[in-house]
Point group: C2
Chain length 395, copies 2
């Protein structure tokens, strides 16, 4: 068997034999509804709060498995279990999604964070594919419209930036929209999807992308120029790499070879830039001018950065046959499986220090849930299942 195909088998086995059973076993809250995500090394619940990002993402994950892997009833039930909780408790009177709820669904943190809405919308859209209740499509669509309406001031009254002095825009929203545009394609007007795709490609590849460095910045002036301040100098290599596979998927969708080539080039730049030459792994944050970043966690190694990089390099290699992508895939594979995977108690660690030692022994928390690792395992499995080949249709 071809070596890359062996990886495909391995990633499939890890997804279905380790990760998904872990969340099936430990995360369902049969008392309060929804999912527990704060799970210690053994899977034991150490905190019962419900974070909307992670609730929505887990609904998406189990729906996606049901839709794309196998129509297992237990997966659909798990997705609907989370969706029921979200539907009942997740939104304020205006339809904005709270940031967090307590175990029983009472709101804790107000809807200041639009990514709650993004992941809720994504979850309900995937669930609608699995079980086409109109209600699910409506929630996904209404939430999406609300995101579009809020996109110019996503934090609303919680926005602490004084207007007019230094109006920056942030990379996270266009990045998520590049993924959402495909995730929601089946419930949106095709014209809207096309406009959206055009728009996010422009934002990511022309506004946020900086030709001088070959990298993407987290925050730029409205016209895409560089702002010499903490926010403006910030590079989050993991964000760049993850965004590049989102845009690569869009490149395949719109059949644009130059776009695909560009995403591979930028992704390789970001991996090389973010790679820690001293201790291995990809750094969490860097300052583009080499100054001390304000993020104290800048030198840590995070699970999502590494698994998204694996997805990106697997896709890049598959679509281009570029050997550099294969080399990086294998290097990332080695680091990631060695340091993040917990061979003893299942699932993977999320947070390592610079040297690759476990910083927090949790399997899930406020930000790590049932999402990046299983999605990445699925993506690598599916991508490497078939022989690497340029996309014939694009040639």
């Amino acid at each position: 068997m071809d070596k890359m195909k062996k990886y495909s088998e391995l990633y499939k086995e890890e997804l279905l034999g380790n990760i998904i059973p872990f969340w099936m076993k430990h995360s369902k809250d049969n008392v309060g509804g929804g999912y527990f995500t704060c799970l210690d090394q053994h899977g034991k619940v150490f905190d019962k709060d419900k974070f909307i990002w992670l609730q929505g993402r887990q609904v998406w994950m189990f729906s996606m498995l049901y839709n794309n892997v196998e129509a297992r009833q237990e997966w659909l039930e798990m997705a609907e279990h989370g969706a029921d909780f979200l539907k009942k408790y997740g939104r304020d009177a205006e339809g904005n999604w709270y940031f967090s709820l307590d175990q029983h669904g009472k709101p804790l943190i107000q809807p200041y964070n639009i990514f709650s809405d993004c992941f809720a919308s994504m979850g309900f859209a995937a669930l609608y594919k699995a079980n086409s209740k109109d209600e699910y499509a409506d929630i996904a669509k209404n939430t999406f419209e609300n995101i579009i309406n809020r996109r110019n001031n996503t934090k609303g009254k919680y926005n602490k930036i004084y207007p007019g002095t230094r109006d920056l825009k942030n990379f996270s929203l266009p990045m998520i929209l590049s993924n959402l545009s495909l995730e929601l394609e089946h419930i949106l007007d095709p014209k809207l999807v096309n406009t959206l795709i055009e728009d996010v490609i422009h934002e990511v590849m022309e506004v946020f992308y900086q030709p001088e460095s070959g990298l993407i910045l987290e925050n730029v002036y409205q016209d895409g120029t560089f702002a010499d301040c903490f926010e403006g100098r910030l590079v989050n290599p993991g964000h760049v790499i993850e965004a590049m596979w989102f845009i690569m998927d869009l490149g395949i969708r719109i059949k644009s070879q130059p776009l695909i080539d560009k995403t591979i080039e930028i992704a390789l730049n970001a991996i090389e830039y973010g790679w820690d030459k001293d201790f291995g792994g990809i750094l969490y944050f860097k300052d583009i001018k080499g100054y001390p970043p304000q993020q104290l966690e800048w030198d840590q190694k995070l699970w999502w950065v590494h698994v998204e990089a694996l997805v990106c390099m697997a896709k890049a290699y598959h679509v281009s046959g570029n050997e550099r992508c294969k080399i990086w895939f294998e290097k990332l594979h080695e680091y990631t499986w060695k340091h993040f995977r917990d061979a003893e108690y299942g699932e993977w660690f999320g947070y390592l220090n610079r040297k690759g030692e476990v910083l927090l022994p949790l399997k899930g928390g406020k930000w790590k849930g049932c999402f990046h690792i299983p999605r990445a395992l699925y993506q690598v499995w599916k991508t490497l299942e078939h022989e690497p080949a340029n996309l014939v249709a694009l040639k």
Copy 2:
């Protein structure tokens, strides 16, 4: 010479020979006004934004030196240089202090953070002692009144907590008020000062203090009971230790030996609880139940934690003669001077990783300015100048 007295000399020399000259040389912004605080290892400015916490604290620092060490004109000028900038640009129309401004004083971040007001008030109050312009006293007093008015919802409209589900209160404000009450004594109504002192002692020593653990929590329910959530489980040992020397000072002020004894007991608990048995130094955050904290920087070693612990143990030893305090002072001294001090380029580093290696090579930034280190050096110098002795007046 007595060993503790030698420390006094050393701390004085470090303050006047290293730290203060560093800030005199590198931090004055003669173009935009106020102070640069983002200084790299060599003292070079790497970012020009002005953070109100640090502007106010530096005004305080130079005023305090002028008031208490020596009436050097250059120190008064330095203080007034920062005060002019603050006065002109620091407040919104309602007198709330912004969080940050750009180099030339244009507001960047709205007044969501009441500690900006606390440090501005403290700065102007100290400056009024040095140069008794009514204007300085007015700014300090008006700001202080505003703090008191805002104390039940310090973040105002920027408060993201949903009311009623889990109403916690946070330790930071009573902690700062315990220090402010003495810092502003000369400009406030004595009755107000007495009420305030009584109030903060009650808050810190009865509401936030937890008899079972012997520690102080960062967030508790309104009645002081324990909240089993990320915020409620959080211990910031450095905060506890710093607060204990503030309250110890109040204990001396109100001549209460039991209060002084209690602060020493809690401070020793906090140091022992926070001390990193594996690598030395005091950890930044811990979860009281031993769960993973949400702060990714939990295992780092921060300058302010260590220098405030030095102040606390010096004062505790001086006021009680307790040998445990002396032992801790010396252990802390050894760790702190070895790891934080930069023998090569002056001043001290602020952020170390768990192993005591430099994490960010800066001398000043968004949160580290001309404050904790010089204040601590001054406090240790003055405290250990005289023989250790119980306070005769209290016996």
